[in-house]
């Protein structure tokens, strides 16, 4: 199908974008990479009256490794993140996760801000953001504010950002090099929407006990979710096959997936066990490696 008609704006800077967004409110939508929005428009599921194309706002595209964390401009393309050496060395989990998104064409144009604000529970980046304790900086006519990952996602394709706010930056706190990590997902074909995705970060103290662990699950509900129960279980425990297995079972209980034509809720819950297991084992190898 062909898209419905709309009016098109191409602001030069953020302020211009914000004033447009406020001027047209409910019926205006931000266009960045377009890899999620335009398919919905071509299928006439989405019929925004006003499109605000922010691709000309160069100041929104950057990768800055400041002390204490990584700042990525919302308009930064997945491909740039995938090829960034600084990210490969200091945030390898982000580098791997981004490489699992879509395919080369989608990664060339899809943006980190676009995919996080689209908030698809089966998307890779929303799930990863939670595990990284990341947060987003959004800007509106009342100025800029920060939203933690935990408070950002409200439900399917729904975030706590106001209609008149633009996501400006994704901020990821520094990950200690001693931390083991893994991002694994189950898909029917390479790069599909995940049936289940798991992001794991874990560190072990020199007594061999776990002193920090973060597990977030994707594809198992209307939004990505941190498996807090499993995390609490592992804290201060020795990490071995048994504790990993038990944590995986707990995580599976915390997932509330829906059934659809690709996989049933029961199967997804079982796959949470398998992939939390695989994620933790691989993270453990990296800690010891």
């Amino acid at each position: 199908m062909k898209p419905f008609s709309f009016e098109y704006f191409k602001p030069n800077n953020i302020d211009e974008a914000i004033s447009l967004l406020n001027g047209y409110g409910e019926d205006a939508v931000i266009l960045a990479g377009g890899q999620s929005l335009i398919p919905l428009m071509n299928l006439r599921l989405a019929r925004p009256k006003y499109i605000i194309d922010i691709n000309k706002i160069a100041e929104l595209s950057y990768i800055k490794d400041t002390n204490g964390g990584l700042s990525i401009g919302a308009l930064t393309r997945h491909r740039e993140i995938e090829k960034s050496d600084i990210i490969k060395s200091k945030y390898p989990i982000l580098s791997k996760t981004v490489s699992l998104i879509g395919n080369p064409q989608i990664r060339n144009w899809g943006t980190i801000g676009g995919s996080i604000s689209h908030a698809d529970p089966a998307g890779e980046l929303p799930t990863l953001l939670l595990a990284l304790n990341g947060k987003v900086k959004v800007v509106g006519n009342q100025g800029e504010r920060e939203i933690d990952g935990d408070d950002l996602f409200l439900g399917y394709l729904t975030t706590s950002m106001e209609k008149t706010e633009i996501l400006r930056e994704v901020y990821i706190p520094e990950i200690s090099p001693k931390m083991g990590w893994e991002f694994v997902e189950l898909t029917k074909r390479s790069h599909d929407f995940a049936i289940v995705s798991v992001a794991v970060l874990m560190s072990i103290d020199n007594a061999g006990k776990c002193n920090d662990v973060r597990i977030s699950l994707g594809g198992v509900g209307s939004m990505p979710v941190r498996a807090k129960g499993a995390e609490e279980f592992l804290l201060d425990k020795a990490i071995n096959d048994d504790s990993i297995n038990e944590a995986a079972n707990i995580a599976s209980e915390e997932a509330e997936p829906e059934s659809d034509i690709h996989a049933s809720a029961k199967y997804r819950k079982e796959m949470v066990k398998v992939f939390v297991n695989r994620g933790l084992i691989s993270a453990l190898d990296r800690v010891r490696g």
Binding site: M41, R47, A119, A122, Y156, T158, F193, S222, E258
Partner: protein, 149 residues
């Protein structure tokens, strides 16, 4: 697509029942309900605007209250069409007293047709759940507000 669940109102059954039968309250709490005009005995014409992020659709059609057994049971039946397809659904409500509180046990059956059914596969059940929860939360908010009046 069918769901069920229950919701506890801390108010006596008569009050909750009167509340559920009051079209203005229904209009206020049905998510995205823009018009609910009485067209006869327990039958209304409705316009509902449902949307999730950029996917918005306007559905117009009719809503009827059936099998009314005051004050414990009734069936809300709705049917509407829009640009992205049609929605047909019903929600059966059973109000049970628990000391001074009321438990509303609901069971919903929804049939979605056309564009949204064929393409929105991955989002439908998620969206339906959000809307139903939102409906009950809004009803409780209205109830407590009225309580305080």
């Amino acid at each position: 697509m069918n769901f069920d669940g229950n919701f506890k109102f801390n108010a006596p059954r008569e009050k909750v029942w009167k509340f559920f039968m009051n079209p203005d309250m229904l209009a206020k709490c049905l998510p995205g309900c823009e018009k609910l005009e009485a067209k006869g005995e327990n039958s209304y014409e409705a316009i509902v605007k449902i949307g999730i992020s950029v996917v918005k659709g306007e559905y117009s059609g009719k809503v009827e209250l059936k099998d009314i057994v005051t004050p414990s049971h009734y069936r809300l039946v709705g049917e509407g069409g829009g640009l992205s397809g049609f929605v047909k659904g019903e929600v059966t409500m059973d109000l049970e007293e628990e000391s001074d509180k009321t438990i509303v046990k609901w069971k919903s059956v929804a049939q979605i047709g056309g564009l949204i059914a064929g393409v929105g596969q991955r989002m439908l059940s998620g969206v339906a759940k959000i809307l139903t929860n939102q409906f009950f939360k809004d009803m409780e908010k209205e109830l407590t507000k009225e309580e305080s009046l």
